[in-house]
């Protein structure tokens, strides 16, 4: 699930709780942001317009 930016160029809504996510400047590709409302970790999957998606969880893996 992903969301489009809202009216402000540097704002987006959280795909989990629809809370407002504001960036001070254009985010970097792949940047991880945390929703201040629900705490979800979100990944920037598009910079312009800003699109966010729930970031995949880190997995443990055996080996090198």
């Amino acid at each position: 699930m992903s969301t489009n930016t809202t009216n402000e160029t540097l704002n987006a809504s959280c795909p989990e709780c629809e809370g407002l996510i504001s960036f001070d400047r254009q985010p970097l590709s792949g940047q991880i942001a945390t929703c201040s409302d629900c705490g979800a970790e979100l990944e920037v999957i598009s910079r312009d317009p800003i699109k966010l998606e729930l970031a995949p969880e880190v997995e443990e893996d055996w080996g090198e």
Binding site: L28, I32, E41, A55, E59, D61, W62, G63, E64
Partner: protein
């Protein structure tokens, strides 16, 4: 070859990419005996447009750069040595079978092909290293650590083509030796193996206590684990000797240097125990906003799939270079690390092809971002 002239990105056919990988896998390169495989690496690298050579310690190095003097340096560090185990090299049903296909010639070849195909902005250099000895004490990566200062680094280890490895646990190797006067096994005195195993049991109690004192997010990555990797005993009729090699995998919250004294403190005064500590490699975990992690993550996404960020319970050359280089760093490569060191080591060639595209795009994304940061920095 010493040419530093900018070279256009090569477009390497799938057949050539597979041939390079197959040649690397087919050339045996046990740790300490990597020269022939390094020569194959250098020869293929030169043929697809790199400035390629063997460095002072024997690492294979392949380099290319955008126009002008180098202002940004991206290192891609793979390793060319393998553990023992002859697996007949063959391609069946688009699967390459062979020792090193996963750990780690597949990742190394993907680095070479991806770097060959990447468009490089002016001032950006990529250097692919086929490092020696990763399966033991990493002399190749140690040399790179001491002589290179890259601005960013990718480490070539299997993450799966859609995975991105953020970090590895650290390591401490402990060689235990116990000597006692020989005696009858029916006697009251503890034997040398008894004493060695008593120390081991105490070490396990220590680890349980240290782990219990920590709140952990990941069961394995955030805990100390240990295993006995070798043991034996002998007697010359006068003295009995027991030896045991123990590998301690350490998380970020304790360094190998910090754990060592705790293990030494378990030795009782009346025991004839000596501990030799080695293999000091601290754990390393990159932040998810690390530039290399993001570049790989975005490159995987561009292939239409959801990336899998991973933390590994093993140790690799990331542990050797990360603390010194202090630059963005992440590990990547095709293959299932569950097949590392196994008798069925094999790599899907479609996965290999996808990983080459990911490496190429990750380099281009990272280079572009670094150039923007460089050019916008106050002079």
């Amino acid at each position: 070859m010493n040419s530093t002239a900018p070279l256009p990105a090569a477009r390497v056919s799938r057949e050539t990419g597979v041939a390079i990988l197959r040649d690397l896998v087919a050339t045996k390169s046990l740790t300490g005996q990597e020269q022939d495989a390094v020569a194959v690496f250098v020869e293929h690298a030169a043929a697809i447009g790199f400035d390629a050579h063997t460095d002072e310690v024997g690492n294979g190095i392949a380099s290319r750069q955008g126009e002008g003097p180098v202002t940004l340096d991206i290192a891609l560090v793979g390793h060319i040595d393998t553990v023992p185990g002859d697996i007949p090299v063959r391609i069946e049903d688009n699967i390459l079978h062979g020792r090193g296909s996963v750990d780690a010639k597949g990742p190394l070849a993907a680095f070479l092909l991806g770097a060959a195909e990447a468009d490089l902005p002016p001032g950006v250099r990529v250097r692919v290293a086929a490092a020696l000895g990763e399966e033991e004490d990493s002399p190749g990566a140690q040399h790179l650590r001491d002589t290179w200062r890259p601005d960013a680094c990718f480490i070539g280890e299997p993450s799966g083509w859609d995975g991105v490895t953020l970090g590895y646990k650290g390591r401490l190797v402990v060689e235990v030796e116990v000597t006692t006067p020989s005696g009858h096994s029916a006697g009251e005195d503890r034997s040398a193996p008894d004493i060695a195993l008593a120390w081991w049991r105490d070490a396990m109690v220590l680890l349980d206590r240290l782990n219990a004192e920590r709140e952990t997010t990941f069961d394995t990555f955030d805990s100390i684990h240990a295993t006995i990797t070798g043991m034996g005993s002998e007697s010359d009729g006068l003295t009995d000797t027991a030896r045991m090699t123990c590998s301690f995998r350490v998380p970020e919250w304790i360094t190998p240097e910090g754990l060592g004294p705790e293990l030494r403190a378990l030795v009782r005064e009346d025991d004839r125990v000596t501990l030799a500590l080695g293999g000091f490699e601290p754990a390393h975990r990159s932040d998810r906003n690390d530039a290399c992690v993001r570049a790989l993550t975005a490159a995987v996404r561009s292939q239409g799939v959801r990336p899998h960020p991973k933390l590994k319970t093993g140790t690799c050359d990331m542990n050797v270079v990360a603390r010194t280089w202090q630059c963005p760093i992440a590990a990547y490569g095709p293959g299932d690390s569950g097949l590392d060191h196994s008798p069925i080591e094999q790599l899907d060639l479609d996965e290999y092809a996808r990983s080459i595209r990911v490496v190429r795009e990750a380099i281009e994304r990272l280079a572009q971002e670094m150039v923007v940061a460089r050019d916008s920095a106050p002079s």
